[in-house]
């Protein structure tokens, strides 16, 4: 059943290899994320999205500078910090000046530190770290550095948009928070409490609970508590099977309100919820496919689905990473002097591929863009998981948290 995927990846790899042969000057982008093990689905999906974006948005349009092509090299970090640092070294040895990573903020912390050190010690082979998915706010606050750029909305920005949507909805007066018992689950609960408290006094938090991560077999007792609490809405940062188990139990227990989530789509999740999730599963994220921001987006998504039937555009921001990098390289007039490229990238304000604008804030290298609250629905143009369901925009927050404060104090090279 996985063979088509394997073919897709092999074909893509073969393509990039043949591209190497054809063009001497390739701009290498090292993709460091899990390509094997339990998190491989997210990783291989991201790699496919990167390769497709590089091909469609840059290489087919003649590349950058004088016909230099983008080449995405997939490096398997097995979701491990140490392995990622080895990968970083491999990437640098292969002459890559750009590193992209997204799964796990823990690994992003390790990488951003390593890149910072490497660049200070080796001015001749500096690299940029383009973070496309790790959402820990610290990466653009106390732990920020000049070489790190985040293209996803961070956890605080997402919660800000999510609570905006909740506050606008008059039917919600009681909210239940539940999450996995670890740093991200706690961060979501804290942010939700803070934002809801600040935005609307009348909203009551009727439950705030953490459950052991990956250990709960049956979520029904939790669902019973949620229903009995009289909550109108649930907020959770759960992912993977914990997300599906919790969501299904809540819906089966007779809960009728919305369930607000961060990661409840694709990788089999949308398909598993199916009809039961329609109108209930809500997801906060950047880049909406239904409705698409432009006909160009429609074409892009269709072409991706045709080329990789087993994958989804689950991380739309990847298109922005590739496109903005290409623009920055053009503006800097060089792909090897990453200081110039970084300077072109910071403060860049351009069209967001998915509609609206996107701005890379200079002070902390956090991208500011439209953030959407999307609802699982059927009968849409772009579907997920080869199912009949996808995500439809319910609320759009334009340039979400554009003025969110940052504690970043960046040291810039001369």
């Amino acid at each position: 059943m996985r063979i088509p995927t394997k073919f897709g990846v092999t074909a893509a790899l073969a393509l990039s290899v043949s591209a190497t042969a054809a063009f001497a000057e390739n701009i290498k982008i090292a993709f460091i994320d899990p390509l094997s093990g339990p998190f491989a689905t997210t990783g291989t999906n991201g790699l496919a999205e990167f390769q497709f974006a590089a091909e469609e948005l840059v290489n087919k349009k003649g590349g950058v500078l004088d016909g230099d092509m983008f080449e995405v090299i997939g490096l398997d970090n097995k979701m491990d910090g140490k392995e990622s640092l080895i990968n970083l070294q491999v990437a640098i040895d292969q002459g890559a000046h750009y590193v992209v990573q997204g799964n796990s903020s823990g690994i992003a912390h390790a990488l951003t530190e390593a890149v910072n050190k490497h660049n200070r010690r080796n001015p001749d082979s500096q690299v940029l770290f383009l973070n496309y998915s790790a959402v820990d706010p610290a990466l653009t606050n106390e732990k920020c550095n000049f070489w790190h750029f985040r293209f996803d909305a961070n956890a605080d920005i997402k919660m800000d948009a999510l609570t905006d949507a909740i506050v606008q909805n008059d039917e919600i007066s009681k909210v239940y928070l539940i999450g996995q018992d670890y740093s991200f689950g706690k961060a979501v609960a804290e942010a939700a409490q803070r934002d809801l408290g600040a935005k609307k006094d009348s909203i009551e938090i009727v439950g705030n609970e953490l459950h052991p991560i990956g250990k709960v077999k049956d979520f029904t007792p939790y669902a019973r508590k949620i229903v009995s609490s009289g909550a109108d809405a649930v907020i959770t940062g759960n992912w993977g099977s914990d997300m599906v188990g919790l969501g299904k139990a809540i819906i089966e227990a007779g809960f009728t309100g919305p369930i607000y989530t961060y990661y409840a789509a694709s990788n089999g999740i949308t398909r598993t919820f199916g009809e039961a999730g329609v109108g209930k599963i809500n997801l906060v994220g950047e880049g909406a496919l239904n409705p698409a921001g432009s006909p160009e987006v429609d074409e892009y998504v269709d072409a991706f689905e045709a080329k990789y039937p087993d994958h989804d555009i689950s991380q739309p921001r990847i298109a922005n990473v590739v496109r903005m990098l290409a623009m920055a390289i053009e503006e800097a007039g060089t792909a090897t002097d990453v200081v110039e490229v970084a300077k072109a990238l910071e403060g860049m304000e351009t069209d967001n591929f998915w509609g609206g604008k996107i701005k890379m804030r200079a002070e902390d290298h956090q991208a500011i863009q439209d953030v959407y609250v999307m609802e699982q629905a059927s009968g849409l143009k772009h579907l997920l998981d080869n199912s009949d369901y996808g995500l439809e925009t319910a609320v759009k927050v334009e340039m979400a948290s554009a003025d969110i404060p940052t504690t970043c104090e960046m040291e810039r090279p001369e």
Binding site: M1, R2, T5, P38, F39, A40, T41, D181, G207, E209, L210, H211, P212, G214, K215, V216, K217, D218, T220, P221, Y222, R224, K225, V227, S228, G230, S241, V244, G245, K248, E252, A253, G254, N267, G268, I269, R271, T272, G274, D385, S387
Partner: protein, 318 residues
């Protein structure tokens, strides 16, 4: 009160699911003296087979065929794997089943991938049978409860009232004598292993749509099944039933309570400190019962091993 009744039903559901797994495991253990580490993997196989079959023939055919397939796989594993390893003693058998568990997980990842499978309950059972308070009880869960009760009664009947059951029981205690009487004891062993794994398969078919069908599902449930049969007493069917229900209710009530440990500390006359980060008891002040719910079965197992090493209903020591 409503919540107590609904928790009783939920706990019954989860307990009976555990029973379907542990009954097969305890049967195999009592017969062969082998702790089958791969037992939960057969449960996972059941779910995946049923998912695949349900894509073409619908849920009910899956419920019928998948356990049979799992049973056949189990019987083949016994015939061509375990039986060969058996002569080298128990440790190689343990290692064999342990390796088998890893192998099955990798095979499943190879064919179905890491994603969750969209394995759904049948349409006609997709409704809320009744509600207590606002809490709905899905018809599917009630169906599951009745199915597993039926399986228990059937199993008990076969083991205690039929000729086959008598031979099996005799083969348990006096395999040589039974063999001398002209019965094919290796065939009985193979049959029991097949039936035991098929029971795990049934559990997988039924639980897949509710608890999720993904490559980690065996790992999540695997350890708790062992805990169940240790508490119930190795080799005892009644023990497996009582322990399963006990654990089902224990975990359900623990998860649905919101009992704070701070109240215990306060009952000892302690005051919540102003700044928790300075207190050496800070974890206890913020801990609630649901957070430690999943380790309660293990605590119970340790207590049982200390005070009643042969389990609640078992006849021999672990």
């Amino acid at each position: 009160m409503d919540l107590v009744i609904i928790n009783l039903i939920d706990g019954l559901f989860y307990g009976l699911l555990l029973f379907m797994l542990s009954s097969g495991l305890t049967l195999i253990f009592s017969m062969m003296g082998v702790l089958n580490f791969a037992h939960a993997s057969f449960y996972m196989l059941g779910a995946y087979f049923a998912y695949q079959i349900s894509m073409y023939l619908g849920f009910w055919m899956g419920l019928l065929i998948a356990p049979l397939l799992v049973g056949v796989v189990g019987a083949l594993v016994e015939r061509y794997g375990l039986r060969r390893v058996h002569q080298y003693g128990h440790v190689p058998e343990l290692i064999f089943t342990f390796g088998l568990a890893l192998l099955i997980e990798e095979v499943i990842k190879f064919f179905w991938g890491n994603n969750l499978m969209a394995y759904q309950e049948p349409e006609i059972l997709k409704f809320a049978l009744f509600s207590i308070g606002n809490n709905a009880v899905p018809a599917y869960k009630v169906f599951m409860i009745f199915t597993s009760v039926a399986i228990f009664i059937g199993l008990l009947y076969i083991l205690t009232r039929t000729r086959i059951g008598m031979i099996i029981q005799a083969a348990l205690s006096y395999p040589r004598t039974v063999e001398a009487l002209g019965h094919n004891v290796p065939l009985i062993f193979m049959g029991v292993f097949g039936v035991g794994t098929a029971l795990a398969g049934v559990a997988g078919v039924l639980a897949g749509p509710v608890l999720g069908t993904f490559p980690g599902m065996a790992f999540v449930l695997g350890s708790i099944v062992f805990v169940t049969i240790v508490i119930g007493g190795l080799g005892s069917l009644w023990g497996a039933l009582v322990a399963s229900l006990l654990l089902g209710w224990l975990t359900t009530f623990a998860a649905s309570s919101s009992f704070p440990f701070a109240s215990i500390l306060e009952s000892f006359g302690m005051q919540r400190p102003e700044s928790l980060s300075d207190s050496y008891l800070r974890d206890l002040w913020t801990l609630t019962l649901p957070q430690i719910g999943p380790i309660l079965p293990y605590i119970l197992m340790v207590l049982i091993l200390v005070f009643r090493p042969h389990g609640l209903f078992g006849k021999r020591d672990v």
